[in-house]
């Protein structure tokens, strides 16, 4: 139970910062308001985001723009099959000091940054992908027994190309679970394309007209920590994650049929954090059921491991989550089937 719940005047500056950030994103990158909202929620929740979409849809542009607006250090790694862990994390180089003594000096890798764009992450070998595990979960790098903290905040925004599967290494479940969201990039409609062609010659992005300072970002994170999660909502999140496990008390028939392994407790934490982020974006001091419903899909859609029957029946995790959200009673009131609740 919180000591205090944010007052409107306490929340208002944070809400204003969020509004400005979204405004900049929507101005620079056209036609993806919902996506910008989700990515910003991911940043506010200090989570890593896996961006999945076809080439040329603006994944890199989005990450670059966020880095510019938040005034954060930004680095990019183009993952290839021959990329080694040392290329990501850094390596020790034998160097001669001014005193003539030779010693191993640590040369930090590109992972030492605030925002890391791991482009086409599934092209790297599992060995290199695994090198990212500690950085994503612990926000630090351990080499030769020495642990070095990464700069804060630290976000990995990784991209995957879903159509070129030859020569790729699918991300292991352990690494997928470390991503807060898996966000799908969809094609924009003709009006937006027309606007892009007219206003973005040679694909150049306009510079942001406003940038967030570091202390403002820190204030946003502090405000996030004060967003209240009511018990019925946390209970709903727990029931929702529990219902993704086959054989669970509230597991639906499709879950029992198609799911091999449900979402982890990390998923429940991720939903709670992301729902807080959504409440902050909406300018509210507390989390509601709708916040959970909005973020549940990107949080859960890469965490359900389906069986072969699902492949045969063309069942996807997204469909399962949608069906689960539709069937699970948010409050657990368990009204009789013939009684329906509706807004007057």
């Amino acid at each position: 139970m919180p000591d205090t719940i944010l007052k409107p005047e306490e929340l208002q500056p944070a809400a204003e910062l969020v509004r400005k950030t979204l405004e900049q994103l929507d101005r620079i990158l056209l036609g993806r308001k919902e996506l910008h909202r989700l990515v910003l929620i991911g940043v506010l929740s200090r989570g890593h985001v896996l961006l999945e979409g076809l080439p040329g849809l603006g994944k890199t542009a989005l990450v670059k723009t966020i880095g510019q607006i938040l005034k954060l250090d930004f680095k990019r790694i183009q993952f290839t099959p021959d990329l080694m862990p040392g290329d990501v994390l850094g390596t020790h180089i034998l160097q001669e000091t001014s005193s003539g003594k030779r010693e191993l000096l640590f040369q930090p890798g590109p992972v030492f940054t605030n925002i890391l764009l791991a482009d086409e992450i599934n092209r790297a070998s599992p060995k290199t992908q695994s090198a990212m595990l500690e950085t994503m979960q612990e926000n630090c790098v351990t080499l030769l027994g020495t642990t070095r903290a990464l700069p804060q905040p630290f976000f990995v925004l990784a991209s995957q190309n879903p159509i070129e599967l030859e020569g790729t290494y699918p991300l292991p479940e352990a690494q997928l679970d470390r991503f807060l969201f898996r966000v799908m990039f969809e094609n924009v409609d003709a009006d937006v394309l027309d606007q892009i062609i007219s206003e973005r010659r040679r694909g150049e992005l306009p510079a942001p007209t406003w940038q967030m300072e570091r202390d403002q970002l820190e204030m946003l994170f502090q405000t996030m920590g004060k967003i209240y999660l009511p018990h019925p909502v946390s209970r709903y999140i727990a029931r929702l994650v529990s219902a993704t496990h086959p054989g669970g008390a509230e597991a639906t028939e499709p879950v029992n049929k198609y799911v091999s392994y449900g979402a982890s407790p990390r998923a429940a934490i991720a939903i709670a954090e992301a729902a807080r982020g959504n409440a902050l974006v909406a300018g509210r001091p507390s989390v509601g059921f709708e916040d959970v419903k909005i973020v549940a899909q990107p949080v859960l859609n890469h965490r359900l491991i389906l069986n072969y029957q699902a492949r045969f029946d063309r069942m996807t995790p997204s469909k399962l989550v949608t069906e689960l959200l539709g069937q699970l009673d948010e409050t657990g009131l368990n009204l009789p089937k013939d009684v329906e609740l509706a807004k007057a």
Partner: protein
């Protein structure tokens, strides 16, 4: 001070409780009406017709209101869940839910206008069931008494069986198998049974009907057996009478005629035609003068015998038509005396010179044997020509000795499985075609052309 959202939330909680109580009451009332209706029906069938006491059951639904209210109060949902639902329906974004943890008054102004969410109860099925059970209860209450007791006093449908038994009794009376008084008693009993037969307790009715049917059947069977015995006697007497008539024309001597007449008299006397259930009548003047009947009197005797036989046949036929006796019995009656040949007996009588002996009766007792030309009535049948065995014997053929066995030579006796020499023998046909008859060859796989290279490479590598 209560805000409008607080008031709306309280109304919402009350509405939910009232609705659940009403819903539960409807379910309980449905069950109550049904049980009450069944109870009314049962009581009215048992004879309780006092509508006042039966109507009192209607007040049973009053306590149900109290029971449903108490039950719903006990099982009411947690208030936090009701509040959460209110928050969700009004899109309050968790602000109302947060009221249980902190004072949210500063945020209430930013919430949408307070609206009490409405419940929609799809009550069609529940109301339909309630209506049906209430109508059922009302129907049982308002049902006329005659209909209520209809099933208890519904007569047992035995009309067809009674009609059949009445016909049987009538036939037995007409044929004088049972006397008129007994027949009247039986008819009266059957009428009474039909009148008193109710579905409530059918066992007694069925037992009485079975008893009457069995008694009819026994009487009919006894009559049929008597008719068969008398018909056989009449047939024998008729055969002898006809033979005597024919033999008299052929010049039968007087002593033989006298003996035959005595035999006929003793035969008719032994038959006891006038005794028993089916008494037959032979004119007494004929019976008295059997020894000296002229041709015309003999004709009359034959007619009387024929008439009695026909009468007995008709009686048994009537019984068989009503299925009171076995059809085999009727067939036996119709075939009685078929083997008798009055012409042959007449020949015998005309050739008989020694007069009185017992051979006439013996002849009639053994119809079909011997005869006058074959050594008398007691003689066995003979064949004059013996059967020839010509062309009936099988011809014997000696089989040739086995040429293969002749050529065989014993080279030794094996104590173990035979061993093959270097020249392996191949199977000729079937699944093992071309398989070498040595260990394991039946399991050999066929190597396809495209596999050969790979197999060869495998063995090369091993070398």
């Amino acid at each position: 001070m209560k805000t409008s959202h607080a008031n709306a939330l309280q109304s919402f909680a009350h509405d939910l409780q009232w609705l659940l109580a009403l819903r539960l009451w409807v379910q309980m009332a449905t069950v109550w009406f049904f049980v009450w209706g069944v109870a009314i029906l049962a009581l009215r069938i048992r004879g309780t017709q006092d509508s006042f006491w039966l109507t009192l059951g209607l007040f049973g639904i009053v306590p149900l209101v109290l029971v449903s209210a108490i039950r719903v109060r006990r099982l009411r949902p947690e208030f936090s869940k009701i509040r959460a639902n209110y928050d969700r329906i009004n899109a309050c974004g968790g602000v109302i839910m947060s009221e249980e943890a902190a004072d949210m008054e500063a945020w209430l102004a930013q919430l949408p206008e307070a609206v009490v969410p409405k419940f929609r109860w799809h009550s069609g099925r529940a109301m339909l069931l309630l209506s049906v059970s209430a109508i059922f209860a009302a129907t049982t209450l308002l049902l006329p008494e005659r209909l209520a007791r209809f099933s208890a006093h519904r007569s047992l449908e035995i009309g067809q069986i009674v009609r059949q038994l009445q016909a049987e009794v009538k036939t037995l009376a007409q044929e004088k198998i049972v006397n008129d008084k007994k027949a009247d008693d039986l008819q009266r009993q059957l009428s009474q049974l039909q009148k008193d037969a109710f579905g409530y307790d059918p066992d007694k009715t069925w037992e009485a009907l079975d008893h009457i049917k069995q008694s009819d059947s026994d009487a009919a069977k006894e009559a049929a057996e008597e008719a068969l015995t008398k018909t056989e006697s009449l047939t024998k007497a008729e055969t002898l009478a006809k033979a005597m008539q024919q033999a008299a024309d052929a010049g039968m001597n007087e002593m033989t005629a006298s003996q035959a007449a005595q035999d006929l008299a003793s035969m008719l006397s032994a038959a006891k035609l006038e005794d028993g259930i089916l008494n037959s009548q032979i004119p007494p003047e004929l019976l008295a003068g059997l020894n000296g009947l002229n041709k015309e009197q003999m004709e009359k005797l034959l007619q009387a015998l024929e008439l009695n036989k026909n009468s007995l046949g008709m009686t048994v036929s009537n019984l068989a038509n009503l299925k009171m006796i076995d059809p085999a019995m009727l067939a036996k009656l119709l075939n009685a005396g078929q083997g008798y040949n009055p012409g042959a007996l007449a020949d015998y009588l005309s050739t008989c010179t020694n007069g009185g002996d017992d051979l006439v009766l013996s002849w009639l007792d053994h119809p079909g044997k011997g005869g006058p030309g074959g050594g008398g009535p007691a003689a066995d049948m003979t064949w004059n020509d013996g059967a020839s065995e010509k062309d009936l014997k099988f011809q014997e053929h000696a089989l040739p000795p086995s040429s293969h066995l002749d050529d065989a030579q014993l080279v030794g006796v094996s104590k173990a499985a035979p061993e093959l020499s270097g020249n392996d023998v191949s199977a000729q046909h079937g699944a093992l075609d071309h398989a070498v008859a040595s260990g394991g060859s039946a399991h050999a796989q066929i190597i396809l052309p495209e596999q050969r290279q790979a197999v060869q490479n495998f063995f090369k590598r091993e070398n």
